[in-house]
Symmetry: none
Subunit: 203 residues, 2 copies
DNA sequence: CGGAGTGCCTTA
DNA sequence: TAAGGCACTCCG
């Protein structure tokens, strides 16, 4: 005699949604709605940003003056390499925007000028400006152990529904392709810089 | 400035349920379900039946033969008057039915005849027979310090949902009213008995 | 108090 | 009438 097992839950990659989304179907087992199906959609979970909690200016009764509290990692835990940190806590979407007010400065307190990004790096997403992309990109280079390539969705898709089309592992920049020409030009720049350094050391 | 205190727990007599039932409302204070309410219903707790644990016939390795173990009270505790016993342990509903198999007997071992109850005492509850009422009533007279009046719910209510409508302090009999006539008749019976006793003593 | 699982109202 | 969505119960 053959016996069959009714599958009650199945979770599969969903082709009618952007890459990374999964569709789960759950069959109701009992009650008057038995046999009906509930559907859940799951997006990719974001990596946790262990070392990216911004400093907070706060006043505590134990201090004589307001102080700036800096937490780099959980209290009481050994600090590990960020690239190998546990990735269980999800990260907020567009968390980069929390960093928008922060500016690098000299030890004298004088703020640095805005950094100009190469034209090949273009922002993507609602109100994502050049400095936000920079924060996003710098963080990705710091945290990711895989290649940093930017968002793969088209700008149209992304603007239509960023929440669905975002790839949370990648920075908020459009997909970047590095050509053979790019590599050659960069090599030229490095060679020129080395030459200048040699000349400076001679004199 | 005024300060208000949100009531988080309140426990009140519940009018939409039979007498004696209480309804407790507990407001959730935090989390995603903050503000939602959990409700508990409490029935009257039953008095504990300190001296009514039936004897058990059992075999233990320390005895040469099976023995009948009799526990009248908790081991290691002083035995108090049952009417003043601590009432913290709840009693099982319809516990009287556990006594149904027990019969009084003469010292010779011969069982006594069933006792016939007066017609004014009528049983109430599922499968509660005349002997069960007797056990129940005798226990109430033994334990209760307040008047023994029987169940106050109607027979219809009681049969519909005994668990909710039972008054656990009272025996499983319908409400009994003692009339002036009843008292007079009982006085007559006592007088006749006394007369017979006097006559017997004379001869 | 959260989450799984189901009831049931709304909508087209 | 069915599907979707929300509310609610129950249990750990």
């Amino acid at each position: 005699m053959m016996s069959s097992v009714t599958i009650e839950r199945k979770r599969v990659e969903c082709n009618s949604l952007p890459k990374g989304w999964q569709r789960e179907e759950i069959i109701r087992k009992s009650g008057i709605s038995a046999g009906k199906m509930d559907v859940c959609y799951y997006s990719r979970t974001m990596r946790s940003d262990v070392s990216l909690v911004p400093p907070i200016r706060q006043t505590a009764s134990i201090f004589k003056q307001p102080v700036t509290v800096i937490r780099n990692h959980e209290v009481g835990k050994v600090k590990h390499d960020a690239k190998h940190a546990a990735q269980d806590k999800p990260k907020q979407m567009f968390w980069e925007k929390r960093l928008e007010r922060l500016r690098a400065c000299h030890s004298s307190g004088e703020e640095l000028e805005d950094i100009i990004l190469p034209r090949s790096i273009r922002s993507i997403g609602p109100n994502v400006n050049e400095q936000t992309v920079l924060h996003s990109l710098a963080t990705a280079l710091h945290i990711l152990s895989s290649p940093v390539t930017g968002q793969t969705s088209s700008k149209t898709e992304f603007n239509k529904n960023a929440t669905a089309f975002i790839n949370p592992d990648q920075p908020l920049m459009q997909s970047v392709l590095v050509s053979e020409d790019d590599i050659r030009r960069q090599e030229d720049r490095v060679n020129i810089a080395r030459k200048k350094l040699q000349d400076a050391l001679k004199s």
